[in-house]
Assembly symmetry: C2
Homo-oligomer: 228 residues x 2
């Protein structure tokens, strides 16, 4: 771990892969990164779906976006965002492990359950989705981020300022700095270091609270850290 | 549970008790409530300590504050804030149960551990401190709140705008509305409904992340909910 502050790395030299890029959250993040001029590859369960989603997004925003299956996207990406359903999360990552070795993997998954009282945090044996990813992907650098950003706002072309922070969790300073810089490319978003991986659970789970607030206040709630 | 929005209740008719009122967080909350013109009773392990802390606070801010032991404060309070160490939390509440029956109890406790890597969330059998309180205090209305507010800012007389939100968690609408109104009496603080008690754990645990941010950014980090 580097403890010194590092210069912002140049994201323009890197390919950003988004696994689960056909869901609203993955699609929304891919949209914003592509609009920021970054090279983006959408991954999906099949190459056909990934390519179709990429073509649709590309047409909507007027910049090129590639599509592939999740394995192809993992191979193409330097930074690989995991934006897949919690159900199957561990199995998918174990399957993709060889393609993810040596890369920065950004887990964005919120393990939540839903019932008639709303959303709630599911227990995770490893502590959190981020820690599960780190336990499986022993040759990758695993960071947790983008848990609390509204997919609705990400996907809305009229929203030019998301006005929210992204908490970035990880144990390796260079990687968290890089993912903070990635978050900063989204208009109105600030990447903020949020602690180590062992403190990822509560940030993932907080999405359940934001869903409760959305219901109460008819909002797309997000989080800003104050005094930082 | 009342699902309808209710008018803001009149806090001026109520006594606010702060158990653990001699620690920085309890003392800081008591200071702000007393400065807002509310009737405040500080509780501590002994009546002597509670009275001494109340006298000191009263002299510092120029308004009357009462002091007592935790049982006396529980008896005196209409809204009773629990701001005690996590170690002994359950035993204290079980001991005070008769005095707390029928009252609104606001649990402010963060079950955290500390090691050389910083703070981390402790596992809680009931899910959270708030849920533990609710499991013990079956005749009280238990709300979780004030978890993420910096004691340093609360206690600093030069801070006239805390610029942060207080997430209020509970299953009974009248009680959460009342505690939101209580939070609103602190300058620059907004009480925001944050979900049900079952989603209290992550709000308590988030304090570990804020402690990490304080260390990284030399700040007194807090949380604002955006789009609400």
């Amino acid at each position: 771990m580097t403890n010194d502050a590092t210069a912002t790395p140049d994201l323009n030299d890197l390919t950003i892969a988004v696994l689960g890029g056909t869901g609203p959250q993955g699609r929304g993040l891919a949209r914003r990164f592509a609009q920021a001029g970054l090279k983006v590859v959408l991954g999906s369960r099949t190459a056909e779906k990934g390519e179709a989603a990429a073509a649709e997004l590309s047409a909507a925003i007027g910049v090129p976006v590639s599509g592939s299956d999740n394995r192809g996207a993992s191979e193409a990406g330097d930074i690989v965002l995991v934006v897949v359903p919690w159900d199957g999360h561990g199995e998918l990552l174990a399957d993709l492990k060889p393609a993810l070795d040596g890369k920065i993997v950004v887990d964005c998954v919120n393990p939540l359950g839903f019932d008639k009282q709303g959303a709630y945090a599911l227990p995770v044996a490893e502590g959190s989705a981020t820690q599960q990813a780190a336990a499986i992907l022993t040759e990758s650098t695993v960071v947790g981020a983008f848990h609390n950003v509204s997919a609705v706002l990400l996907e809305d072309p009229d929203v030019t300022d998301l006005g929210t922070d992204v908490l970035v969790l990880g144990d390796e300073r260079e990687a968290t700095d890089l993912v903070q810089a990635l978050a900063d490319t989204i208009p109105g978003v600030r990447g903020v270091y949020g602690g180590r991986r062992r403190n990822a659970h509560q940030v993932e789970a907080l999405t359940a609270n934001l869903i409760s607030m959305n219901r109460r206040y008819k909002a797309h709630a997000g989080v800003r850290v104050t005094d930082v």
